[in-house]
Symmetry: C2
Subunit: 361 residues, 2 copies
C-alpha cells in the first residue's frame, strides 16, 4: 500500500478529528486548525503542516494552549482592534480576529488589528490571503518562540518573525510574500544537521555570537533551549557587509508590531505560563487608491514585465511570490498531498495517543 | 582654512539659496529640499546629502523635474490620498503629501497615501519621522531609478526600493528602520570601485546575471545605464541559500506599494520624460491600540532588553535602528556637519554654474 499521498479533503477531515477527539478542541476550532495545517502541506510547506500536531499537543498538555478558551476584543475603534487571545489556540484566535478585521475593512476602508496571548497561528500566508480573496490587501505578522540573535548580540531574544503581504491582482495567484525574517527557517538547519551536520555561514551563530557552520549544535540549542546563547541569524547574516543590520531591523520591526503594539509577550518571554504569541494584521481596500480593478491591472502588468524578462545564465524562470505555492496546491488538489514517512509515523503515533484510527491514504 | 565642517543652519540656508537662485525653486520648495538634504549629511548619510545637488540640477536641466510645477490630490477618502506630482521636485511633493497625510491620520486614525510622477525625495527616514515626531507610526516607501535584478533574472528592472518605518517610543531617538532593500547602497559599490575595484559576492551580478566581485563594471553599468543587464542584488544575494528570494520579494513589494498602487511609473520606466518616481506613505495613531503612552513604554522596554543583552565576541554594542543617526546628528549640531573634499568641490562647481558665492565654513 502506497502511504505517501492522501486527498486534501480526507486529510482535512482526519486532522479535524484528531484535534476534536484527541485534544478536545471545539468543533469550529478543530476545523480552522485542520484547514490551515493542511493548506501548508498542500503548498509544500511541510514545516507548518500536519506534522506540527505534536507541538500543539504538547502545548495543550502543558496548559499553555487552552482549547476551550475564547479570545475577546479588548479595544476597538472603527479601524482597529486589540484582541486578547486568552491562551486559546492561535487558529481560532486568528480566525476571529481576521473575520472582524475583514468586516471592518470592508465597512471603513482599513482595519489594523493586534493580538496578544495567542498561540502559534500556522503559516502567516493563510491569514493575509483571506483579505486578497476578498479583493483587499492583507498583511500578517507574528512573533514566535525565541530563535534569533540581534546583530552583534549572542542571546536568542527575537523570533523568526515572519512578514506576509498578499496583494490581489484580479486572478489567482495573488502576489503573496510570506517570509521569515531569519535567513532560513529552523527546519532547514535541522535538515542540514541530519544530512552531514554542516550549514552555510550566515544562517546561525554559536554561543559566543560567532558565525558557525555546525548545524547539529544550533539545531540542538534552538530545539532544546539548553542555553540562552547562540541561534539563528536574520537575513543578511552576522555582519553589516551583507546587510545583517537590515534583516535584524525587519525582525525587530515585526516584534514591535506584534508584541509591542499589542502590549503582549515579546518573543524572549514566550512559552512561559502560556504560549504568549502575538500577531498583527492589517487589511486595506484597494479602492482607497481609486478604481480598484484598474489598480489591480496595473500591478499585474508590472509583474508580467518582470516574469517575462531575460533569465540569468543557468536559470529558466523568474518567480513572482505566491506562484510556487499556488502551483503545488493545484497539483496537490489533483494528485493528493504528499506526506513524508516521518510525518506518517508521527500521525500514527499521535493517533494512538489520541485513540483515533490511523490515517489511511 | 579648515574646509571640512560647516554649521547646520548655515549649510541649510546656503543650500536653500542654491536651489532658489540656481534652479529657480520656489522659496518653500527650496526650503524643504535644503532641509532634507542637510538632515541626511547631519546623520552621516552623505549619499543622500547636499552632494546630490548635481543630480537634481541635471534633472531640472533635462526637464524631468519642473521646479514650479505643483502636485495635486487626484483621489481622496477620509483615510487615503492619491497624489499626482506633476513632475515637481520630490521634496515639496512629499511635504504636501505628508502634511495632508498627518492631518488626516490625526483626524481619522490613519491615512495611506500613494504618490506618482514625483522625483527623488531624499532619505526615506525624513518623511516617516514626521509622523513619529507627532506621536504616530510612520511608514515611507519609494521606488527609484532601475538598479536591481529580480532573483534569477539579469535585467535591471527594479529600484533600490527602500522601506522606512518610524515608531515613537516616548523620547528620541524613535525606533527608525530606514533601509534600501538591496544588499548595499549603490554608493558602497562606487567606493569599492575607487578603492581597488573588488566587492564581496552578494552585492551585484554581471550582464549574464551571475555573481560578480567586479565593482568597477557594476558601478559603470548602473551609473551610465549602458546596458539593461547586470546590476545590484537584493538582501540575501543571488541564491535562495541566503534568502535572495526574500530580499527580492521585499524590493518587489515596495515596487507594488509605490508604482503599483499609485498607477505610476515602475522603476524600469523611470527617467523617461519625467523622473516618474512614486512614493507610498502610511501614518497611524498609536491610540488605535489603546493607551498610546503605555504602548510606547512597552515598546521602549522591549528595546531596552535587547540593547542591554550580552554582546557577541568582539562586539561592544547592540544598536537599535535610528540610534547611530541620532547620535551623529547631535554631534553635527554641536560640532558642525562634516563634508568630504569631493562634496566641497562639487558645491563650489555648482555655485559657479548657479552664480552663487562659494560656501564658507
Amino acid at each position: 500500500m502506497d502511504r505517501t499521498t492522501v486527498g486534501y479533503d480526507k486529510l482535512r477531515g482526519y486532522m479535524q478529528r484528531m484535534f476534536e477527539v484527541g485534544l478536545k478542541y471545539p468543533r469550529e476550532s478543530a476545523e480552522i486548525t485542520a484547514e490551515v495545517l493542511v493548506e501548508a502541506d498542500a503548498r509544500g510547506h511541510a514545516s507548518h503542516g500536519v506534522a506540527r500536531v505534536s507541538m500543539y499537543a504538547n502545548e495543550v498538555w502543558d496548559g499553555k494552549n487552552i482549547p476551550e478558551a475564547r479570545p475577546e476584543i479588548v479595544h476597538e475603534t472603527p479601524i482597529s482592534l486589540v484582541v486578547q487571545g486568552n491562551r486559546a489556540p492561535g487558529f481560532p484566535v486568528s480566525k476571529m480576529a481576521m473575520d472582524r478585521t475583514l468586516e471592518k475593512a470592508e465597512q471603513n476602508g482599513t482595519c489594523m488589528t493586534v493580538v496578544r496571548d495567542s498561540c502559534h497561528f500556522g503559516m502567516a500566508g493563510y491569514w493575509a490571503e483571506l483579505a486578497a480573496d476578498r479583493g483587499m490587501i492583507g498583511w500578517a505578522f507574528t512573533n514566535t518562540l525565541r530563535a534569533a540573535i540581534p546583530l552583534f548580540g549572542k542571546e536568542r531574544l527575537l523570533g523568526t518573525n515572519p512578514i506576509c503581504v498578499a496583494i490581489p491582482i484580479g486572478r489567482k495567484p495573488h502576489f503573496m510574500l510570506d517570509m521569515a525574517t531569519t535567513t532560513v527557517a529552523l527546519g532547514k538547519i535541522e535538515v542540514a544537521a541530519r544530512r552531514g551536520g554542516t550549514m552555510p555561514v550566515g544562517w546561525a551563530v554559536d554561543e559566543k555570537g560567532v558565525d558557525t557552520t555546525d548545524a547539529i549544535s544550533v539545531a540542538d540549542i534552538n530545539r532544546k533551549n539548553k542555553s540562552p546563547y547562540g541561534g539563528q541569524l536574520y537575513l543578511g547574516g552576522a555582519t553589516e557587509t551583507h546587510g545583517g543590520h537590515k534583516g535584524y531591523g525587519l525582525g525587530l520591526l515585526v516584534e514591535l508590531l506584534t508584541s509591542g503594539l499589542s502590549m503582549g509577550t515579546p518573543s524572549f518571554e514566550t512559552y512561559g505560563d502560556g504560549c504568549g504569541i502575538c500577531h498583527c494584521f492589517q487589511v486595506m481596500r484597494m479602492d482607497l487608491f481609486g478604481d480598484a480593478r484598474a489598480v489591480q491591472r496595473h500591478v499585474s502588468e508590472i509583474l508580467d514585465r518582470i516574469r517575462s524578462s531575460p533569465k540569468a545564465e543557468g536559470q529558466e524562470r523568474i518567480y513572482i511570490h505566491g506562484e510556487k505555492e499556488f502551483e503545488r496546491r493545484e497539483k496537490a488538489l489533483k494528485e493528493g498531498i504528499w506526506l513524508d514517512p516521518a510525518t506518517w509515523k508521527r500521525l500514527d503515533e499521535y493517533a494512538d495517543k489520541f485513540g483515533v484510527e490511523h490515517l489511511e491514504p
